[in-house]
Structures are given as structure tokens and as C-alpha cells.
């Protein structure tokens, strides 16, 4: 078996070129690959197309979380493919929204279920699907319409990426992954939809067999690179999880 383990997040993202398309997992904080994003910021790749649920901000989100918004703030992102460009609450403003209003970044806004299904389609080799979501709205403009079982649908295409950055709870050296609770969100979908999938692992990278086969959430066939997140302060852990003393 080819070695998938990298000793640092910086090595794991070193070859990402300018102009790459990158999927970034996470919904709120759980599942967000904060260490890999930090490494990509240090690495300096720019003109990126980023596929992620949102580009920073969000209700009740902790200050200082390192998500796709941090890449946008540093002007590394040419285009976002996401489900939200602006918060519904005017009290929450983001660099992304300000830059988008000023025409400094492109955005493709996708309904969240369509967004997830397009990523799944990308990973599953499906050329697209018909969905009733968005019919009669701006989202449907210019898209193929079809009546199926008496209901109007629109055609949506797959999303694929050069790289996926994913955060998992536990892995084995073959790249089999487990997520804990709501860390899972986009991880299994994005891992399958990228040419190179890079995973930061929270608890351990164990020997094959350590994860029960029927407890594997993402099989290792989708995973190319694994990095164990170091202990703080070098590594970034979800919220204050580390300090809480749990493992």
C-alpha cells in the first residue's frame, strides 16, 4: 500500500497550484479542516475556486474559526461555489459579502440540497440530476426544465474538484475515516468528488482493522493524504474540545 501519511499539514498541501478548484468540508465548526486551511494560507496558492457551504460568517459561530472565509479575506479566492453569500441578519457581515457586493470575487449560489447532491454526483460519476428545488426562482434561469411525474424539475450538473480538504475524527493508515457526530456533513461527499483528497485527523491514525468495517464512514479508496493534527498550540482543534480533556 502506498504511504498516505504526511507528517505536517504544510507538506500535505504543498503542491496545490494557483487556479486550483478546492472543496472544503464543514458546516459551522464541526468538520471544518482548520489546520489544512491554515497551511494553504501559508502556502500562498491564489486564484482558487472554492466549493464550500459558505465563505465565513454564520449565526453563533465562534470568532477566529479558520474556514473558507479566511482564504477569501486574504484574496486567494477567485470564485466561491456556495449556498450563502450574505447572512439573512444584516448584523452579520463578512469580507466575502463586502467583496462580492464590490465585484471583487465571483460567486455561484446553489441551494444547499442541490449543492450536496451535485458533489455526490461528481464523486459518483453521474452527469447530473433533475430536482424540483429552485423551480420558479432565479436559480432555474437558463436551466433545462422537464416535467417528471407531473412535477416540474430542473437539470443540475455535477461538481468535481482538484483537491478536497476534509476533517475527520479517526482514520487508519489506509485512509478509512470515521467522523464524530455532525463532523460528517460534507466529508464523505467531498472525499469522493476530488482528484486528491487530503484529510486532517483529530484523534489517531490507527493500523488497518482498528475501525470496524461497518463503522467506516468514508472508505480509504477516496483518501490520498492523511495528517494527524498536532496538539495545541501548534494544531487547531474544534472549539475548546482539546481543553475539555475529552478524547
Amino acid at each position: 500500500m502506498k504511504n498516505k501519511i504526511y507528517s505536517t499539514v504544510d507538506e500535505a498541501v504543498a503542491d496545490i497550484p494557483d487556479g486550483a478548484t478546492i472543496m472544503v468540508s464543514g458546516f459551522g465548526e464541526p468538520g471544518t479542516p482548520q489546520n489544512l486551511i491554515s497551511a494553504l494560507i501559508r502556502q500562498g496558492a491564489k486564484n482558487l475556486t472554492v466549493i464550500s457551504n459558505r465563505g465565513g460568517g454564520g449565526r453563533n459561530l465562534r470568532e477566529g474559526i479558520i474556514d473558507a472565509g479566511k482564504l477569501i479575506e486574504r484574496r486567494r479566492v477567485k470564485k466561491m461555489v456556495c449556498t450563502i453569500t450574505a447572512a439573512l441578519k444584516s448584523s452579520i457581515t463578512t469580507s466575502f459579502d463586502r467583496m462580492y457586493q464590490a465585484g471583487e470575487i465571483e460567486a455561484e449560489l446553489v441551494p444547499q440540497g442541490t449543492f450536496a447532491a451535485r458533489i455526490r454526483a461528481g464523486g459518483a460519476g453521474i452527469g447530473g440530476f433533475y430536482t424540483p428545488t429552485g423551480v420558479g426562482t432565479e436559480i432555474a434561469e437558463g436551466k433545462e426544465h422537464r416535467m417528471i411525474d407531473g412535477r416540474e424539475h430542473i437539470l443540475e450538473g455535477p461538481l468535481r474538484a482538484d483537491y478536497a480538504l476534509v476533517h475527520a475524527y479517526r482514520a487508519d493508515t489506509w485512509g478509512n475515516l470515521q467522523y464524530r457526530l455532525t463532523q460528517r456533513n460534507f466529508g464523505p461527499l467531498m472525499a469522493a468528488a476530488a482528484r486528491v483528497t487530503i484529510v486532517e485527523v483529530e484523534k489517531e491514525i490507527a493500523e488497518p482493522g482498528a475501525i470496524e468495517p461497518d463503522q467506516v464512514n468514508t472508505p480509504g479508496v477516496y483518501v490520498d493524504r492523511l495528517v494527524k493534527i498536532p496538539s495545541p498550540p501548534e494544531g487547531i482543534w474544534e472549539s475548546t474540545y482539546w481543553q475539555s480533556g475529552k478524547s
Binding site: P30, N60, T85, L88, G113, G134, V135, I139
Partner: protein, 207 residues
């Protein structure tokens, strides 16, 4: 409360989440969150948070016995596939034909679709909770939505601070009204025509 025993319900952010604080007594309601939770409970008490467990509003939540965790595609397959009995969401405007606008303000690029379009199209019943008028007194119950649509013909029921409105083939029916108001007063702050049945009642304020 409009929910029935055994329903799977999604509560949108903001006012709608207050429904979770209601005492459902012996009814079991399974609350769904877009980020892949079926069967969440009350917010986690301070100091007892599990940092791997949040809901779609990014608040630390808890799981009740019988809960399940699913990925994001399955979470929305469940919604789109008609397995959600009801969604409760906020809105900017609702029209008498059931059109819903809640993701974008006119004249501003982009907006916040999130899960709203899928939820409005996929849930068996779409309940809207909103203030009856905008901050500057404009009506939110419209003949036609002025703002960009989230979904066409999707809304079943609207609850405002002034009344409970069924959305029917014939438009809005004022089923219940807030204590101290008359149907005429509620009509005066609504653009759409309200139908008023003979058996209209006052609603119980639950906070």
C-alpha cells in the same frame, strides 16, 4: 401547536426555533437539522457542550434517545424525498398563491439560500412564522411577492403576531387572531385579501 405525534420537523433559524421550547406533552416530535441530525434535543447546557455536535444554527445541541446522524446529501434527500412532515421557517413575504420569499433583498447581489429552497419544495407542509409587517409598516402578506422567490406555491400556513392564516386555493383564510384585534384591523395591514370564516377564534399566546 400544529404538529402531530411522530412527525419529523425542521425548524429554521430565528423565530421558528422557539417551537422547540414548546411542551409537546406525550407527543414525540423528531427534530431534523440540515447538517445531518435527526432527533436533536434541547441546547447543550453551558459547560456540557459536545464540540462535535451542533445544529444548523451553529448552536451546541444534544441528542435524544433514537437520534441518528446522516451526511449532508442524505439530509437533503430526506427533505426532497418528502420524508419531512413539516418545516417552520421565517419569511420576508408570502403571497396568497403560496409563493414564498425569504432569501434575497431586492437590489443586493446574492443572498442566503442555505437549505430554504429545498425545505420549501420538499417538506410535506410549510409553516411560516413572521412579523405581520416590515419594520417600516409594509405588509408581508402579499397578492404577489415583490422579492425574489424561494419557492412557488409552497406555503400552507402563516403565523404572525396578529393571526394564523391558512393558505388555500382561495387565498389567505384568517383562522385565528390575536386577542384585542378585529379582522378589519388585520386586513388593513395586509395587501392580500383575507377571508374570514364565521368560526374564527382568538389564539392562545404561547411563549
Amino acid at each position: 401547536m400544529e404538529f402531530e405525534d411522530g412527525w419529523v420537523v425542521n425548524l429554521g433559524a430565528g423565530m421558528a426555533t422557539m417551537c422547540a421550547n414548546y411542551d409537546f406533552k406525550d407527543q414525540t416530535i423528531i427534530f431534523h437539522s440540515e447538517n445531518g441530525v435527526l432527533g436533536y434535543g434541547p441546547p447543550a447546557p453551558k459547560g456540557k457542550e459536545d464540540f462535535h455536535l451542533t445544529n444548523a444554527s451553529n448552536t451546541y445541541t444534544t441528542l435524544l434517545p433514537g437520534a441518528a446522524i446522516i451526511d449532508h446529501d442524505e439530509s437533503f434527500a430526506l427533505i426532497r424525498g418528502g420524508h419531512l412532515d413539516a418545516v417552520v421557517m421565517g419569511a420576508y413575504e408570502v403571497a396568497e398563491n403560496g409563493d414564498l420569499a425569504n432569501w434575497k433583498i431586492t437590489g443586493r447581489r446574492g443572498g442566503g439560500i442555505g437549505g430554504a429552497m429545498d425545505l420549501a419544495v420538499g417538506a410535506q407542509r410549510v409553516f411560516i412564522v413572521m412579523e405581520h409587517t416590515t419594520r417600516d409598516g409594509q405588509p408581508r402578506l402579499r397578492k404577489r411577492c415583490l422579492l425574489p422567490l424561494t419557492a412557488a406555491g409552497a406555503v400552507d400556513l402563516v403565523v404572525t403576531n396578529l393571526g394564523v392564516f391558512d393558505v388555500t386555493e382561495a387565498g389567505f383564510v384568517l383562522r385565528e387572531m390575536a386577542p384585542g384585534y378585529t379582522p378589519e384591523e388585520i386586513q388593513a395591514v395586509s395587501e392580500a385579501k383575507l377571508r374570514v370564516p364565521d368560526d374564527i377564534t382568538e389564539f392562545q399566546v404561547v411563549v
